[in-house]
Amino acid sequence: MVNIIEVKNLTRKFNGLTAVDDISFEVKKGEIFGFLGPNGAGKSTTINMLSTIIAPTNGNALVNGFSIIGDKDEVRKSIGLVFQDPSLDDRLTADENLCFHARLYGVPKDEYNKRIEEVLKLVELWDRKDDIVKTFSGGMKRRLEIARGLIHYPAVLFLDEPTLGLDPQTRVHIWDYIMKLKREREMTIFMTTHYMNEAEYCDRIGIIDNGKIVALDTPANLKKMVGGDIISLTSQDKQTLKKELEEKYGKEVKEEDDILKIEVVEGEKFMPRLFNELQTKIDSISLKKPALDDVFLFLTGRKIREEEASSKDFMRNFMRMRGR
């Protein structure tokens, strides 16, 4: 597969503080590539460098074959951007916002009206085309921003925390559009997030912490790093059950209070076997598959700090309400 982004030894320092520390990776054409990490890990700084907003202190990257240092204008034409913070003109209509964008990107006049219809229909805002953006909800604004990022037919779409500050229902909606883009247009999408459940949608994930990529693989492979699925069982006859599990499956059985735990591969297939084969009567059974939280914990020794994120979200929402 062709690489659409190639990053080599990219570094960015701010007054001696290293925000992005010598990272290298590739993004393949047509995949959803996710950057996962806590706030301040260097996700946005990386996106800002790849989209030529800031220059790298060291290293280089090729986007669609163009250097982010030497060919800024070509890189800019190759990418669509949805920023972390809102960037629409809320006194203009949806149509005017898109029109403005199309003209700045040199889309020919006879072409852009067609494209505006196409992208607005994609995000289901076509019927709101002539409404002032101020009247839009947060989710609608975000959808409009995604539509705007597509007008000039970019090779890569960058989404910086696309669902930040949106309610869960809207978040699911936004993801529907993103998946549709991948399916119907084979669009390459580079996104950042600190929501673990959202990272699961990605084809490959780079986990970034303190400016360094600590792991890069498919979500499934990353989760294999932390071990298998955990099946928890309880029974009136705990000791018999423990013995049976050990003898029949050769598994190590851990005891936590009244609960017995075993680690297996593909727990959803293992559970029916237990139902059929166990002689001892069981009272309850449950399965826990490892999540990306566990991967992050495993790799960095700490959890992604959600509390910190939520206070930032709060400020963002507050600013949004105040401003536009």
């Binding site: 960037s87 003109d89 403005f100 964008h101 401003g323």
Partner: protein, 260 residues
């Protein structure tokens, strides 16, 4: 070609935003009229003693137009600071367009808005006894354009150096009043202390007021009185404003490039 198209796109956005804000259009019309009425009525009786051979309201009218141009041109360039604060500037800055076309689009936008708004002020001319010939209107409009372009240049330069709307507002306050009072809008600058002469000659508003006053009062009062009030011939005023605008826009483009 793309250079001019992006200037046009940025200019058009400024115009649409202005047109949507009807409150702004109306209030920018009434503020100068209030100035004219209050100061005109209040000062004309006091000033009859000084007597410079012209009705004070007529004397002040060109100054009020120039003040209006200045206020609106400054206010319009705040849009750059707002854009930065609300994130829209980022959208413009990552587009494949030159910084120069962004600055020019913004400056042309402010120029258009300020000139059109000042043009509206001409409807009060008959009410204060100023007759307007079509040629006078054309000449006036030309100077409205020149003056607003010069002021937009200053505004753009300052807004590309400022981070928030608050600091921009503060700097504007500090600038606007001295510029207004030392422009010759209120009193003729032909007989003032040296320090005032020096400051007023660096003030673009002085040249705007001077030119507009000659254009408006020409033929309305005796040439002798006009000669006592004016500083430079109209062409000199025009040349100064053009030169001043070019320097300011260049500086603004430089500052803009450096910031981003």
């Amino acid at each position: 070609m793309h250079f001019f198209k992006s200037i046009f796109a940025i200019w058009q956005r400024e115009i649409i935003r202005y047109w949507r804000d009807k409150t702004r259009i109306v209030s920018s019309f009434f503020q100068p009229i209030m100035f004219l009425l209050i100061f005109g009525a209040g000062l004309s009786t006091t000033l009859t003693a000084g007597n410079f051979g012209v009705d004070f309201i007529k004397f002040m009218y060109p100054g009020i137009i120039a003040m209006n141009v200045m206020g609106i041109a400054f206010f319009s360039t705040v849009s750059t600071v707002w854009d930065r604060e609300f994130g829209f500037l980022k959208e413009i800055l990552v587009a494949p367009v030159s910084r120069t076309s962004i600055a020019l689009g913004k400056a042309f936008g402010a120029t258009t808005i300020a000139s059109l708004q000042a043009l509206i002020l001409l409807v009060i001319a008959p009410f204060i006894g100023v007759g307007l010939h079509i040629l006078v209107v054309v000449k006036l409009f030309l100077f409205m354009l020149l003056l607003s372009f010069a002021i937009s240049g200053i505004g753009l330069l300052i807004s590309s150096l400022m981070k928030t709307t608050e600091t921009f507002g503060l700097v504007m306050q500090v600038l606007v009043f001295p510029m207004f009072f030392l422009s010759g809008a209120f009193f003729p600058l032909t007989n003032v202390p040296l320090w005032m002469t020096i400051i007023s000659r660096a003030n673009p508003l002085t040249y705007g007021v001077d030119a507009m006053r000659q254009i408006i009062l020409n033929g309305q009062i005796s040439q002798q009185v006009i000669n006592k009030l004016v500083l430079y011939p109209i062409t000199i005023n025009g040349i100064f404003l053009i030169g001043f605008s070019i320097i300011m826009i260049l500086a603004a483009v430089l500052a803009f490039n450096k910031r981003s």
